[in-house]
Assembly symmetry: D2
Homo-oligomer: 236 residues x 4
């Protein structure tokens, strides 16, 4: 983590801090917000990004019932509960700066606080049987993101999401090399190449959501068009 911090510090112009926290711990949200305020004096942007997917690679009839509970709660705490707590803890701070920041010459907010959820295609549709717990938690996260949009706008804080598709990072590469049939099904439904994207593909959407002071409550799918599940049979 320290090496990431050094890289970011060298590449950018500002100050970078790293704080190791278990987001499933009750105190994480307040710890993160306190550290940010201590170092920077204010919070402007929150990206809810942490969390690790757990897959069920067995038939449901062979998977112990209590494991469904364990997996579902784990994913729900990571993807739905923790971001709500972090977003609200941060919003209390952000509201001080943004709630009365005023409007520019054309009547749009002069500036806004920005909360971004990194969701997933699984937030929009359950996709696959190994993702039961993950998809349910991400769909719950989408619901809370919409609720927060409705509540925090009055403080000039916007809440939006990205829903990335399939990335060509180490974890997925390993998974799809084990299951080339799953990979082949994905390949068929990405209109734009590549089928599996470099994770930097999400950067423009995040920059946009930070910069636009009126967009609110949207989900931007970043997947080359995969989410449409379109079939092209004649235009080949």
């Amino acid at each position: 983590m320290e090496s990431v911090r050094q890289t970011l510090t060298l590449e950018g112009e500002g100050k970078v801090i790293c704080l190791k926290q278990d987001i499933t711990a009750e105190s994480a949200a307040e710890n993160i917000v306190e550290a940010a305020v201590r170092e920077f004096g204010m919070i402007d942007i929150v990206v809810n990004n942490a969390g690790i997917a757990r897959r069920i690679e067995e038939t449901y009839f062979n998977f112990p019932l209590e494991k469904f509970s364990e997996y579902m709660l784990d994913q729900f705490i990571q993807f739905a509960v923790a971001p709500v707590q972090l977003s609200i803890a941060a919003a209390k701070v952000m509201a001080k700066k943004y709630a009365n920041i005023g409007y520019n010459e054309v009547g749009l907010p002069r500036d806004t606080g920005c909360i971004i959820y990194n969701l997933s295609q699984a937030a929009l549709q359950p996709i696959r049987d190994d993702l039961l717990a993950y998809s349910a938690a991400k769909r719950a996260a989408l619901s809370t993101m919409e609720t927060l949009t409705g509540v925090l706008g009055q403080h000039n804080i916007r809440v939006n999401a990205i829903a990335p598709g399939y990335a060509n990072t180490a974890g997925p590469k390993k998974f799809y090399s084990r299951f080339p049939n799953i990979r082949a099904d994905i390949d068929k439904h990405v209109p734009l190449k590549p089928n599996f994207m470099d994770p930097s593909a999400v950067v423009p959407a995040v920059q946009y959501l930070v910069a636009d002071n009126y967009v609110n409550g949207v989900v931007i799918e970043i997947d080359g068009g995969w989410h449409l599940r379109f079939n092209r049979y004649f235009n080949v």
Copy 2:
């Protein structure tokens, strides 16, 4: 509960058993399935109906962070985890009867096992700020219902849902008498009268979902059309 059992027994032709279970307990699903098998020898229909909504009637900035966790987990366990466990525990039994039941003369399943989720409009949109935890859990439940549809169809078990709107039962009556402004907003968006329905309004949909052996993975909104949030200004 015994009086309900007696009423149902008198009104119907079959045998009725009641079993008091805390659905948030790990053992509930298996207890329910075991009792049903012991009494009836088979399970044909499961309706995931239990659960109590918890509302947040405070501003989020005044609501303690740990309470978000408490409320969200409570609702998620009731509405998302417990139905998955009950559905799968029951499906293991149902599959024995239905998986190889065969097809009728036009090639449709001769019969099917039937799992029904009683969702809510909140599963489709978060609706209101007091329903953050409830809406998130119901949306998660919708995701799992879709996953179960995809998985259990191979055993000739169908999974569908109803999404009832606003009922004129005791709880809601009390709530909306406290908040007539909320009630007025609902009233404006129900194309068909009544605005608040008798709970028996869900019966035809449940009967239909039980009887149709091919409908699978659908959500039927039972709300007079409220879910469209349509505005009628000129046709008055």
Copy 3:
């Protein structure tokens, strides 16, 4: 058509009339409504069912631009314009009976007029490149069906839809025997068997939508679960 009429007359108990109309003609809606009123004195149920899909089996770059216009207008008139005209022409009659029909002992409508749209999965997602014009028209039809729901409820007329999946009728059989690859892709995503349904599979949903006096503005997918486009890799 006369043989269909005779069959229906023999099978049922009521009177059956057949009226040959080109639904793309401006006068069709009024002709149909007038004939129905003349013979039966009232209209209770309308099913918007007519229309023939036109597919584009060429690449879009080779398909003349004016043909897009021709195909799109043809499909739009059949699936979106004609049903609006028929529904409203019929609703003017239905309103006389239903608008003030009153409520039963639990406050639900004593009876309701019923309009049903026979949509298609293509109304919910564009699905395939040969269906550009068809999907657009069906999606437009869904929009108008929702608008009519919002407007006609005040007269105790309900408007709902079914969205059937793939049927094993003569037309599709011929098409999919030409394109077994398209058929194979469909086969993979129907959780419940059969993959291609007998058209009688839509009957229970239509009967339900006619009978339930409170369901309004819903779309019931009748496709064994195909619309979820779910992938089952581990539960096999």
Copy 4:
């Protein structure tokens, strides 16, 4: 139009041409594409933006049936047919540049052709009874936009949309001053202020959709969060 051209020329660095075309004429698409190619040699970006909404400010029972046909066809040709023709005519040119443009060092497209639809909230839900024809046409346009996404990606052409909410331009101002009740209903459901936006609020989204070479098939609602139709009762 000439004054707009002069303003744009002075403000920007490039060359601006204006071409007056009736987009409902069959020849418009080819005229526009030919003029662009003649002047610029290539087409990189297409924004489908033209069209005028027609509202039905009468009850449907008093509105002549043939007028539904007239209004619906008018809106469908403007919003659904014309953009398909323009997009495909332009894509034939764009494909020459983009289809084989290659990939950058992380495997993302080096550059892409970009087609943008200016939809509307009415493309996602029918909203109001005066918008029957407009909403149907915009929903059809959404369907075709998704189809084009699926088809044109192979040529490295992306197709996306914005769905602006309520703008404070001359037309709407006049309309909402006539119907302050409609305006009040909108005001209640915009989490972020202002309720009615300056039209320049769409610029960042358009710039983003032009710049991001992987986002494909998305709809970005630009409305301060109105599309969620959220109710805030307790966080006030």
